[in-house]
Symmetry: C2
Subunit: 335 residues, 2 copies
């Protein structure tokens, strides 16, 4: 790729915004419900499409009970293997539901999949707004990220890269051709805070604006962005017999997501008051510090390395380019 | 009662500290577990009693599932009627468990009840440390409250008075001769934050120190304390058909527990962005603002009136006084 060449990418015709993938993460649930209302009103009043997206409430049963999930974490069900292998247990609600969602929004990895999925999440960690994706070379996601940073300069916005292949990626957003989770915190699960809701509403609106602008033919310049690539997770100290946690996040670390954690920095404080320090050899950036839902997953915090990436200039393909590309893929398939 | 007369009250021989009455309020759960460990170690090493209290984990099944309750809210099961009437449904775990706890710590209203119950709770609301009691003339609770305020001057500490009789009082702490909930926030349910845990640990330690000091014969001077008497609760605005909430706490009110709310102050913000103001006629003090567990109870916040109370000087009864009092009650019963 030459430095200033503009990369031409297919139009994003079908965009999905999903909420309630975790049934107790309230901002996304109320935002999708609000967008559904606006859309219904727009249809009624025969306006042009007010919300140019497919709106999905992913886990209605869990939402009804205000729980993360009923039987198993829905947002871990979307690996290629889980979606295409034999159904492990049709009694598990989320296994069934993940296939329904894959049929609606995918199939994952196929030409029929929606072009972009934005899946809305909340965390109890003090993470601001994060886009989380399994790709560090999805120029659509990275351009949206840079656009949000510029449009919402009063909110800390980061990009978290989970270094796994699309096939291994387990999250709902991996079903789309492009996709990311929009994760916002801190907000207790089961609660909706107006400030967090407002940030999510603005984030989704700017994302949809960007898509409209991209589809209309505007070119977006090349540049640099910082991404946080996950390195590892650390569990709480636990009692070897009961498996109960014996310490929690140290007060000096709590709420300091994305502040560099250096070797020997305070990490945990035991319930009897002792400080345990970080024994890693490399300074890393912590995130998901003290996330409620991760106690059961054995995660007290995650650690990331920060990297600067160059993103190319992009614009949407013209109809001729798109046509030519289609013919090329078709003839490649025949070969 | 004369102004400077010292009131003599029975010794507090049996004190209970309870955690896990709500199975996802983590500070109390981990604190009681830690105190149990310290106690076991003290017994092992034949020290004098390290924790002079009965330690209770109230709802072990809910704790195991990290949920508030299994079938029904345990902390609403302790009215006189619920404890003594026919068992409504022995299939409901908390109904059975409330009777077990009443047998251990009560029976409520009887001479056999423990002298003092301190029941540990957390809230997602920004309430600091609150003692909550159904009495505004329980001098033991009010003296403990004043002592905590003096010992922990860096923490906002308030006393909330729920204006109901002991018979109507529904909470576990009402089973003791004296009792209060120690409520600390903000902390998301299912999470333990080191700062909130530390405040609770200090609060319980100071409470136990006060009891030891009181029992040893020290007199506590009279004085004034401010209490917040609950006036009413307000629900979220809801859709009349779906009963879903249509607004959340206004950003200018969120986290401002115990800051005076005046008529026409912003109260809610709808999901479409409209501000709804407080329509009451009297300025009142809000608390339990946006508490997670109260969405299902139809409570967005509670409102209180502040009052200044005079508490008398108190000391423990001497053994002779206690003996004389016992004889007096016995002869009264005979009459």
């Amino acid at each position: 790729m030459e430095a200033d060449k503009v990369m031409c990418l297919p139009k994003l015709s079908r965009v999905a915004v999903c909420g309630g993938t975790h049934g107790n993460e309230m901002s996304g649930i109320y935002l999708v419900k609000e967008l559904l209302k606006a859309k219904a009103k727009g249809v009624e009043e025969e306006e042009e499409e007010t919300v140019p997206a497919l709106l999905v409430l992913s886990n209605p049963r869990a939402m009804q009970q205000c729980r993360r999930y009923i039987d198993t974490d829905l947002n871990r069900c979307f690996t290629h293997a889980a979606l295409t292998g034999p159904m492990l247990d049709p009694e598990l609600y989320e296994l069934v539901r993940s296939r329904e969602l894959n049929a609606t929004l995918g199939p994952k990895g196929s030409p029929e999949a929606v072009d972009l999925i934005c899946d809305l999440h909340n965390t109890t960690a003090n993470m601001g707004l994060c886009l989380i994706s399994h790709s560090d070379c999805d120029w659509i996601c990275l351009h949206i990220f840079r656009y949000l940073q510029r449009q919402m300069s009063d909110v800390p916005i980061r990009y978290i890269h989970l270094d796994v292949s699309n096939k291994e990626a387990y999250s709902l957003d991996s079903v789309g051709k492009h996709g990311f989770a929009m994760e916002i915190g801190p907000q207790p699960h089961g609660v909706v805070r107006s400030n967090v809701y407002a940030v999510m509403k603005a984030g989704v609106q700017h994302m949809l604006d960007w898509v409209t602008s991209f589809n209309s033919g505007r070119a977006f310049e090349s540049g640099f962005v910082d991404v946080f690539t996950m390195v590892k997770c650390i569990d709480y100290p636990r009692d070897s017999k009961t498996h109960n946690i014996t310490a929690t996040i140290h007060p000096e670390l709590q709420d300091r997501d994305f502040c560099l954690l250096c070797p020997e920095d305070p990490l945990f404080q035991t319930f009897s008051g002792e400080t345990l320090s970080y024994k890693g050899t490399e300074p890393l950036y912590p995130f998901f510090i003290n996330e409620c839902a991760y106690y059961e997953k054995g995660i007290a915090l995650c650690l990331a390395r920060q990297r600067r990436l160059r993103i190319p200039a992009i614009r949407v393909q013209t109809e001729q380019e798109q046509q030519a590309n289609k013919q090329r893929s078709a003839s490649e398939e025949e070969e």
